[in-house]
């Protein structure tokens, strides 16, 4: 929009001074936003930790189940005399 940028009225508008927000207000808004970002980070970290601990729990349960199944299988095989009892 060349005709706009060359327009003397647009030049005058561009030169109008802008407002400076109150310094206390500026600081308060910044602090509120920082706090919100911090809460967001803490929530994300908690979610991540929960997901990680959930994965660990599942792995532990799977390992215990595998050990139990192997033990039952061993007992069954030795009961039928298919493997030695070692004694």
């Amino acid at each position: 929009m060349t005709e706009w940028s060359d327009d003397p009225l647009s030049v005058r508008l561009a030169r109008l001074p802008g407002a400076v927000p109150d310094e206390n207000h500026r600081a308060r808004v910044r602090a509120r936003c920082h706090a919100a970002l911090e809460r967001r980070r803490a929530r994300a970290a908690a979610t991540k930790a929960a997901a990680r601990s959930g994965w660990h729990a599942e792995l532990t349960a799977a390992a215990l189940v595998a050990i139990y199944v192997l033990a039952v299988l061993g007992d069954a095989l030795s009961a039928y005399g298919l493997i030695g009892t070692g004694g």
């Binding site: 561009a14 001074p17 407002a19 927000p21 970002l37």
Partner: protein, 207 residues
């Protein structure tokens, strides 16, 4: 509104820097937020102050704009343009504020009855414009209809491109071109109607 930032100083960000800032914002980086806040807060505030003509309203809506950015930063698109994004949120918040106020006013009018409308409150900018020419321009701008005022503020004062302003206002480029042209003509007419070097008449127009 006693403090004004220098005229014509727009703290624009180059595209690469902007993309990097958006990426960091998406991760919730406080440092990136500070950079964006320092660059855009005064502009968002000025935009809202000129739209609402009230400092307290502009402060509240600017605060809400920044809290929106923080709450949604994780969902920003990687190619987000920050200035249009922020001005869009600010404009939508102002529209919501106007709707709420209209509703409140209509309830109040129902309860108390109709009363004569008071004079338009003087814009904070009108009170502090540095010189007579600026003051006349602020008066003329403040008297424009909201749709005209917002395009002139976005393009003329805040330095957005007409395409960016079209995104902010939710219209197409051609509609924006027409709005801008119409707004410019309205502003010129209003300026002509405000007599120069006549302080008494100007005072009447301001009050």
């Amino acid at each position: 509104m006693s403090r004004l930032r220098p005229a014509g100083v727009l703290t624009l960000v180059d595209r690469d820097t902007e993309l990097a800032l958006v990426e960091r914002l998406r991760r919730g980086d406080t440092g990136a937020f500070d950079v964006v806040y320092d660059k855009y807060h005064a502009r968002v505030f000025s935009f809202l102050a000129r739209l609402s003509r009230r400092r307290d309203v502009a402060e509240d809506l600017a605060e809400e704009t920044w809290l929106r950015l923080v709450s949604r930063c994780g969902h920003l698109r990687a190619d987000t343009r920050l200035a249009p994004w922020l001005f869009t949120v600010a404009r939508n918040l102002y529209a919501s504020y106007c709707r709420a106020r209209l509703l409140e006013d209509s309830h109040a009018a129902n309860l108390i009855g109709l009363w004569p409308a008071g004079a338009r409150p003087r814009s904070p900018f009108e009170e502090t414009a540095a010189n007579e020419a600026d003051r006349r321009l602020e008066v003329a701008l403040a008297e424009l209809p909201a749709t005209s005022r917002e395009v002139l503020i976005l393009v003329g004062i805040e330095g957005l491109t007409p395409a960016e302003a079209a995104v902010v206002c939710g219209v197409g480029p051609e509609a924006m071109r027409q709005r801008l042209s119409r707004a410019r003509a309205q502003l010129a007419r209003r300026l002509d109607a405000i007599p120069a070097n006549r302080p008494k008449q100007l005072q009447e127009a301001l009050s």
